[in-house]
C-alpha cells in the first residue's frame, strides 16, 4: 500500500493545526503566568494569616453591658448572645432570601468563654429586652440602674461600653480605676481633657483596655501593612478616604421607640454632663446629631477611616488639621455637619521613597464625607510608585511615572491601568447584603473579614482578642495608645470645623496647641453652629 502526498495531506492535515493551536494556547498562558510570577516575586507580598490568640480558659469572664442600643445588641451577638427578637427577624429574612447568611454565621460563631452577668440601660424597654432574651434559670442577669452600681457590684469582671459618646470616658475611667476590664466603642472620648484622664487611668490600671475599632482584625489591612512596609507603593503623598451615605439610618435618624417616655427613660442620667434640657425623645434616640452627646462625622465615621489607616501606616496624630463643611443635606435641627471635608497634615511622615533621598517627605490624609449621596468612593493610597485601593479587597495599580517600576513599564511587563496585585479573600463567598449602611461598612472592611474563604465577624475577633488578653495578660491591637491618637485626631477635626481655622498638634508637649482666649473643650461641646471667634474665655 502506497500513500501519496495527497493522501497524507487529507489524512493528517488536522495534525499541524492541532499542534499550532495547542502551542499557541500553552505559550500564551505560560507566558502570562511567568510575567505575573516575576511581578509577584518582585513585590514579595505575603497575605496575612489570621492571628492566633491564646484560649480563654478557666472561669468564664463575667461581662456587663452598658448601653443595650443598636451597637450594644451587635456587640452582644459578637459575644454569642442574640435577642429572641433578632433571631425571629433573621429567620424571616432567611426564609425570604436563602442567601442571607446572618443567622447561619451567628450560629456557627465560636463560643466564647463568657458569662453575661449584667446589663445597664436607662431605657426600660432595652434593658428588659436583654433580660428577656439572656436571663435564664441557670444564669440570671441582673439589671443595674447606673453604671457605678454595676462597676462596684463585685459581680462583674469586664464591661462593654456602647453608650452615647459623652459617657464613654467617665464610665471607662470609673471601671479602670476599679480594675474592671473595658471595651469601649469609638470615639474613645468626647472632650480633649478626658482623653488625657482616660489615658492616665488606663496606664495605671491593672485591667485591660480596648477600643472598639474592630477593623484592626481585618486580614486585608494586615496584608496592606506588609505591602506598604515593602515599599510597593513608594512614597504615599495623599490618602483619600470617604463617607458616602444617603439614607435615614446612615444620617443617624434612627427609629424612635413608641414606648419611650419620661417614666421609661432615666433622662437625667442620659444627660449627665450635657446641658440640662427638658425630656426630648429625638435627642435620646438620635443623639449622634448633637455635639452635646455625639460628635457627628468627625467622631463617628472619620475615626473609622483614620484608625483604618493608622493601623496600616502607624502615622499617629497629624501635625495639623483643617476642616470645612456644614449642615447641607439634613437640615432637621441637628448641629453636627452632614457634609465634612477634613485635611490632616503629616509633613514629617513617609512610607519610604524610591527616588533621590530627601526629595519626598510628608503626606496629607484627606477625609471627604456627605450624608446626601451614596456613590461608593473607595479608599485610595496614592504613592509615587503605585496606587492602592484599601477595603476588604486590596488592589494595586502601578503608576505611569513610577521610578521603581520604570523598567517593567518600559518593557510592557506592567501597564498603569492593569492591577499588579489583587487580594480578595472573600472572592469565593457570594453573599446577599441588604441595607445600604451595612454595605457601606462591609466595603470598607469594617464588618467582617475572611478566614480561609469563610466570613467572620471582625467585631467577634476584636472582642475575642480583648477577652484573651484579659485571661492571658496579653496585649490588644487597639489599646490606649491607638485610642488616644484616634480621639485627639477626631477632636482636632471637630475643633477645626467649629472654629474655621487650622488646629495644630505639639508632638513634644503632646498637646493641641492652645489658641489664645479660646477654651477648646468648651468649643467642642458647644451646640453653637457659629464658627467665628466665639466662646471667649471670660
Amino acid at each position: 500500500m502506497k500513500w501519496t502526498r495527497r493522501d497524507l495531506l487529507k489524512g493528517l492535515g488536522g495534525l499541524p493545526i492541532l499542534g499550532a493551536v495547542w502551542w499557541a494556547g500553552a505559550a500564551s498562558i505560560v507566558g502570562k503566568r511567568r510575567e505575573r510570577t516575576e511581578i509577584l516575586q518582585q513585590l514579595n507580598i505575603t497575605p496575612s494569616l489570621p492571628q492566633a490568640v491564646p484560649g480563654i480558659s478557666g472561669d468564664p469572664i463575667r461581662v456587663g453591658i452598658i448601653g443595650f442600643g443598636i451597637r450594644g445588641e451587635q456587640l452582644c451577638r459578637s459575644l454569642g448572645f442574640a435577642t429572641k427578637e433578632w433571631i425571629a427577624d433573621m429567620e424571616l429574612a432567611t426564609r425570604e432570601n436563602p442567601d442571607n447568611k446572618g443567622l447561619e454565621d451567628f450560629m456557627n460563631q465560636e463560643k466564647l468563654n463568657v458569662k453575661l452577668a449584667g446589663v445597664c440601660d436607662i431605657f426600660d424597654v432595652k434593658a428588659e429586652r436583654a433580660l428577656n432574651s439572656f436571663s435564664t434559670s441557670d444564669n440570671t442577669i441582673k439589671r443595674y440602674r447606673t453604671y457605678q452600681e454595676m462597676i462596684h457590684s463585685g459581680d462583674i469582671d469586664a464591661v462593654v461600653i456602647a453608650t452615647p459618646d459623652h459617657w464613654h470616658a467617665p464610665m471607662a475611667i470609673e471601671a479602670l480605676e476599679n480594675n474592671i476590664h473595658v471595651y469601649v466603642e469609638k470615639p474613645m472620648t468626647h472632650t480633649i481633657e478626658e482623653t488625657y484622664r482616660l489615658r492616665e487611668a488606663a496606664q495605671q490600671s491593672k485591667a485591660v483596655f480596648s477600643v472598639g475599632h474592630q477593623h484592626r482584625q481585618t486580614l486585608s489591612f494586615r496584608t496592606a501593612k506588609d505591602i506598604v512596609d515593602k515599599g510597593t507603593l513608594g512614597h504615599v503623598s495623599l490618602i483619600q478616604t470617604n463617607t458616602n451615605r444617603n439614607d435615614d439610618n446612615g444620617a443617624w435618624n434612627y427609629e424612635i421607640d413608641e414606648n419611650a417616655n419620661e417614666t421609661t427613660i432615666d433622662w437625667e442620667q442620659f444627660l449627665g454632663t450635657a446641658p440640662k434640657i427638658p425630656f426630648n425623645k429625638n435627642h435620646f434616640f438620635r443623639w449622634r446629631k448633637w455635639w452635646a452627646y455625639g460628635s457627628g462625622l468627625s467622631g463617628d465615621l472619620l475615626t473609622h477611616d483614620y484608625d483604618r489607616l493608622n493601623c496600616v501606616l502607624n502615622m499617629g496624630i497629624p501635625d495639623s488639621v483643617m476642616a470645612s463643611g456644614g449642615v447641607y443635606t439634613h437640615n432637621d435641627g441637628r448641629n453636627v455637619p452632614d457634609v465634612l471635608q477634613v485635611n490632616m497634615e503629616f509633613p514629617n511622615f513617609s512610607t519610604g521613597s524610591s527616588q533621590l533621598r530627601g526629595k519626598e517627605m510628608g503626606m496629607t490624609f484627606c477625609y471627604s464625607a456627605t450624608l446626601g449621596n451614596g456613590f461608593s468612593r473607595p479608599t485610595i493610597l496614592m504613592g509615587h510608585d503605585a496606587t492602592m485601593e484599601l477595603g476588604n479587597r486590596l488592589t494595586i495599580w502601578p503608576d505611569g511615572g513610577s521610578t521603581r517600576y520604570r523598567e517593567m513599564l518600559e518593557n510592557e511587563k506592567m501597564y498603569p491601568g492593569t492591577p499588579i496585585y489583587q487580594y480578595d479573600p472573600g472572592a469565593n463567598s457570594p453573599d446577599a447584603i441588604s441595607s445600604a449602611t451595612s454595605q457601606y461598612f462591609a466595603d470598607k472592611g469594617l464588618m467582617w473579614t475572611y478566614i480561609n474563604g469563610k466570613r467572620v465577624d471582625s467585631t467577634f475577633l476584636h472582642m475575642r482578642e480583648w477577652l484573651s488578653a484579659i485571661k492571658n495578660d496579653g496585649t490588644v491591637s487597639c489599646g490606649i495608645k491607638e485610642g488616644f491618637e484616634e480621639a485627639i485626631s477626631a477632636h482636632m477635626a471637630g475643633l477645626s470645623w467649629k472654629l474655621g481655622r487650622r488646629i495644630e498638634w505639639d508632638p513634644e508637649l503632646e498637646i493641641i496647641k492652645p489658641i489664645e482666649g479660646i477654651d477648646l473643650d468648651a468649643v467642642l461641646l458647644s451646640n453653637e453652629m457659629v464658627n467665628t471667634d466665639f466662646i471667649m474665655v471670660s
Binding site: 500500500m1 493522501d7 487529507k10 489524512g11 493528517l12 492535515g13 488536522g14 495534525l15 493545526i17 492541532l18 493551536v21 495547542w22 499557541a24 494556547g25 500553552a26 500564551s28 498562558i29 505560560v30 503566568r33 472572592a427 469565593n428 457570594p430
Partner: protein
C-alpha cells in the same frame, strides 16, 4: 448535484476545523492555568436551572467539575481537528454548549454577565451548538482527517 455536495463537504470541513480549534484553545488555556476554575461561572448561574449549576459549585466536587470540563473541551478539540471519532466529539461538544447556554441563558429579565454583545434567547453558544449538529450529521473525517485512512483502506479492499 455532485459539485454542490463537494462544496458542502468543504464548507462543513472548515466548520468542523474551526469549532475544533475554538474548543481546543479554550481547553488548553485552562489546562495550562492552574488558577483557573469554573467556580465563579457556576456560582453566578441564572435561569431555570440555577440550582443545578450552583450545586456543582461545591468545594467537594469542584476539582472533578473543572477537570471534566477541561478534558471534555480538549477531547472535542482533538476529535474535530484530527477528524476522528468526530461524531462522539460533536455530541460531547453539544452537551458542553447546552450546559453553558443553560447556566447563563440570554433570557429577558436576567442580567447578562461578561458578554460582549446583545442577545435575546439566541447567543453564540446556541449557534455553535447547532453548528455542531451539522458536523454530527455531515461527518467529514473521511474526506479530511484520520478517518480518511480508514476510508481509503476500505476503498482499496473494495477494489480488490
Amino acid at each position: 448535484m455532485n459539485r454542490n455536495q463537494n462544496k458542502i463537504t468543504v464548507v462543513v470541513t472548515i466548520l468542523r476545523v474551526l469549532i475544533g480549534w475554538h474548543f481546543l484553545y479554550e481547553g488548553i488555556s485552562k489546562v495550562y492555568n492552574p488558577d483557573w476554575t469554573s467556580y465563579g461561572y457556576l456560582a453566578s448561574a441564572q435561569g431555570p436551572l440555577k440550582s443545578v449549576f450552583t450545586a456543582l459549585a461545591n468545594d467537594s466536587i469542584m476539582y472533578w467539575v473543572d477537570t471534566l470540563n477541561m478534558a471534555a473541551l480538549v477531547f472535542v478539540g482533538i476529535t474535530l481537528l484530527l477528524g476522528i471519532f468526530e461524531r462522539i466529539g460533536a455530541i460531547v461538544g453539544i452537551g458542553l454548549l447546552a450546559m453553558y447556554y443553560l447556566s447563563h441563558p440570554p433570557f429577558p429579565g436576567l442580567t447578562q454577565l461578561n458578554v460582549e454583545g446583545n442577545y435575546w434567547l439566541v447567543n453564540k453558544n446556541l449557534i455553535e451548538l447547532v453548528a455542531l449538529l451539522v458536523v454530527y450529521y455531515l461527518p467529514t473525517g473521511r474526506k479530511f482527517g484520520l478517518e480518511y485512512f480508514r476510508n481509503r483502506k476500505l476503498a482499496k479492499t473494495d477494489a480488490l
